[in-house]
Amino acid sequence: MEHYNMNLTLKVWRQKNEKEKGHFETYSVPGISSEMSFLEMFDVLNERLINEGKEPIAFDHDCREGICGACSMHINGKAHGPWAGTTTCQLHMRAFKDGDTIVVEPWRANAFPVIKDLVTDRSALDRIIAAGGYISVNTGNAVDGNSLPVEKDKADTAFAAAACIGCGACVAACKNSSAMLFTGAKVSHLALLPQGNPERKTRVVNMIAQMDKEGFGSCTFTMECEAACPKEISVNNIARLNAEYMRAAFTAEETMG
């Protein structure tokens, strides 16, 4: 692909802290290479802001290779920007043209309060995992690989669900701010495997209870989450989550959950 430089106008959400009201700040960012990543473009801008003695723009990032889910940004109305199946850190500037104006906002959901500028507190997702998204056994020595047969098809589906990096784009893109794709992926990947079976019912009931407590909305199946997901997690996992929930809810004892 041909390399080119571009001059951009950036409209970035600036917010001091959780309490204070935020606003958009406009920056002109000249000389951006088409080979930079979106975050590198922010690095260039931040260098300049620091040199000018101004507060740099706070944004979340860690791995910068699309596997940690930290780089949450809403770019021109799309979670993680215009490319499908791509995190912000893997979005490259060749997605834009010279002269473009780019609007960058943090995830917007009451369950994800803004900490500063583009950084949101996504620990609500961690608490959903903590409510049951694990297997509580002492694993001991490694067992013989063939002692737990898993169908190829199920292993693949479980693996695809486990690809979720917990970035929260599903919540950010959903008109209901629902975390059902995230929770569905977490519940699915364990429900499909034999290791997940013993705690299957308590897991789903407790995770949904936590999800509701965190203030996420109900799923109305618009499927916007699937389109926004950088790991292209299927909404089928939401349907499976519903099935798992019903299976647990309609057979559970009153004491469960």
Binding site: A84, G215, C219, E224, A248
Partner: protein, 235 residues
């Protein structure tokens, strides 16, 4: 886990929507089937007899109570859910959230539902009220029709339809009502099954396509009723 916990959870609330929605869909099938009798070229005899059967049979009347309860529950829960879901994002996006993955009607179920509700109120006023409550509290009464050489003496609901659908404004409102219903069902039909946990891809695809077909056929049939009366295709 108590029943209350089940049905007040985010999934439980959706389950109520899906189950009542499917129950209302089952009513639509009966309704469209019976109403299609207006196209039997016997000046409404089949239709009037069918309508009279439904209006007088005790079992149907009991189910009718269930139907009204179903509508109330669906409407109440629908508004509650919409309000709750809308309250989850106090500060909205400036650039608007993307819509690359969702259809406009799947995002507008509350609006479509409201249009259907408004239509339903008009529809009940036009036909249900005079046929069930006509004569009481000064409500206008339906005409009568004689069949089987005067042995059968029943309400002429057919005549009422002919009369109501002479007004072009009413016809347009009915067609718009059917259009809202079509889009509402296009999303609601398959979404209800997904809420109930359908995750087998083959069946999910089948149900989705069936849902599209169902909403088009049923709503087109409903919409054609006032239209064909207005244009005098049935007399």
């Amino acid at each position: 886990m108590t029943w209350k916990q089940v049905f007040t959870s985010s999934i439980g609330k959706k389950l109520v929507m899906g189950l009542t929605g499917l129950f209302l869909i089952s009513f639509l099938i009966v309704h469209v089937g019976l109403n299609a009798c207006i196209w039997v070229p016997d000046h409404g005899e089949t239709f009037n007899k069918g309508a009279n059967f439904m209006g007088t049979m005790i079992l149907v009347r009991i189910i009718e109570v269930g139907l009204f309860l179903g509508i109330l529950l669906h409407v109440y829960q629908g508004y509650l859910l919409t309000a709750q879901n809308n309250s989850r994002r106090s500060q909205n996006y400036t650039a608007g959230y993307g819509n690359k993955g969702s259809s406009w009607y799947s995002r507008s179920m509350g609006l479509l539902g409201t249009l259907i509700l408004l239509f339903l109120i008009m529809h009940i006023y036009h036909f249900w009220t005079p046929s069930r409550l006509g004569g009481m509290w000064g409500i206008h009464e339906l005409g009568e029709a004689d069949y089987n050489n005067g042995a059968v003496h029943i309400h002429n609901l057919y005549g009422e339809m002919i009369q109501v659908f002479q007004n072009p404004v009413v016809v347009i409102l009915y067609v718009l009502g059917c259009l809202s219903l079509a889009y509402h069902l296009a999303h609601g039909f398959h979404s209800a099954f997904r809420t109930m946990g359908l995750h087998n891809r083959r069946y999910a695809k089948m149900i989705r396509n069936f849902g599209y077909g169902f909403s088009i056929v049923v709503c087109l049939a409903f919409a054609m009723m006032p239209v064909s009366i207005y244009f005098g295709w049935v007399k």
